[in-house]
Amino acid sequence: MTLRAWHPFRLALGLISAVGYLFLLAPIIVIAGASFGSTQFLVFPPQGFSLRWYEEALGRADFWSGFQISVLIALVAAVLSTIIGALAAVAVVRHRFFGRDLILALFLSPLILPSLVLAVALLLMFSAARIDPSPERLIAAHLVLCVPYVIRTLIPVLQRVDPSLEEAAQNLGASSLAAFWLVTLPQIRPGLVAGAFFAFIISFDEVVLGVFLAPARQPTLPIQIYSAVQFGLDPTVAAVSTLLIVLTLVLVVVSEALLGVRRLG
């Protein structure tokens, strides 16, 4: 709407939005701020300033191993789900087949169906099949959550690639596989990177499946935080959380620089 900058409507809109963003960012700001406090009990605004909780957090072997297992799981899940999702997205965008809409709906349904129900269902199935808790088990479960993000990121990207480019490549002597590899793949590379990025974040942050399926001896970092928080507001955990926030922020900013934020949205 073309109104003067100081029009009451615009002011009110800006004010509400500012409150909205404050609300949206409040818990993140609070955790980050409180983690620098010097008191034993976590408070916001922080009292005093110290880095002792960071020292303590970085010195904890259990957090380090949690971080390592989280990164490992997220990396494997991201790579696998990007491959699986990209293949499925190509099938859905470039081909017409029986039941296409239904299959696409199935592939996207984990985006909206409760992951808690999936977690319980997988727990019961794994128990019945005597598949013991392991990182592999968790990765397999994470794939179900990650693949939909990859597919949905890639569908619009693939739709923007002119199908006649692949035809032109075939026409010039490239097999259909070579045509995809030489022509379509370079076009969708940003989408693949964005999809992999999503998959990594989803897997790295995942808690619900982890609570039910992760091996008790090798919990991922978010599960360690989840468990610790239930027993009290520990400043060390706040420091770890802040490090996670910073990591996420770095990933978001890097991917924004690489891909543009619109691709994320």
Binding site: I16, Y21, I31, F107, L116, V120, S176, D205, L251, E256
Partner: protein
Amino acid sequence: MDRAMEPRDRAGVSPLSSFDGGQTAEVLDRSSADGHQSLPTAPPVTGDEAGGSPGTAWLTPWVLMLPALLLFFLLFVLPQARLLGYSFEPDPQSAATGLTLENYGRLFGDMHYLGILGRTLWMGLLVTVITLVLGYPMAYWLARLETRWKTVLLVLTIFPLLTSAVVRSFGWMVLLYRTGVVNQSLQRLGIVDAPLPLMYTLSGVVIALAEVLMPFMVLTLYGVIRGIDRNLEEAAMDLGAGPLSTIYRVTLPLSAGGVLAGSLLVFSLAISSFVTPSLVGGPRVQLMATAIQEQTVSLLNWQFAATLSAVLLAVVLVLALAYSRLVERSGDRSAVVPV
């Protein structure tokens, strides 16, 4: 004419040829219902113009989807179908066998569980209303913003979404406890005398969950409002409508689909979310998600956990169907589906 130019590239074999017979056969079986398999000599008209080796071109999408189909069948459809099966099995403590509806009878006959269901739906409604009331102005402001700050603000909207729900719930715990910053501020401002009970209450869960799910609402509405031609608003103002009445009479009706879609999405996610209710609500706020966990992990009553899950799943499925119908009708998937 240079005859050496004849295509000699044999390196690129068809993607089908690398597949072993077993897997291909499975795909063939899967789509024989489609009537394709019975025509080996005269390849069927598939309408598929993507090319590939003639005659087997229809197989290509199935081969491409095979990993995803296997994954979803084994780790999504199968376990959840099995879970539904448990909900019709009798309680392990009873001697009964065979299929039964007693679990559902117990759920819908017991005020305790009906209360949990009702509380969950009520919580979902409150969260939806808060995100909508706060999210609509934010989305509108964002959609009509024309500065380079827009990118920063979009990142700020997406960033919480990518931050772990555990961390954000943790933040809310710090904010909401008895002597937390919210209560201190309220007391200092003289709004309340004694600290409000926010932690381990439904109100606390609603506040925290509204924040956790807010990006979904804002991004959904942002996509829809951005798609509305600004000329329409300018035309309305040109015809004498003030900004508020322009929003009410032009923008809001045109974004009604987005409002509904965003609300369905947030409501579905709210009633099925687990992390925030279990941290901020704790065991004192009994909701579907926490009840399912309790039945599964503490009480080991898989049958009843399955029944609660089935009911939750049914509600979400109905909403998801409504959502997809809505998206279909609006014709533009990208406009309504958020991050």
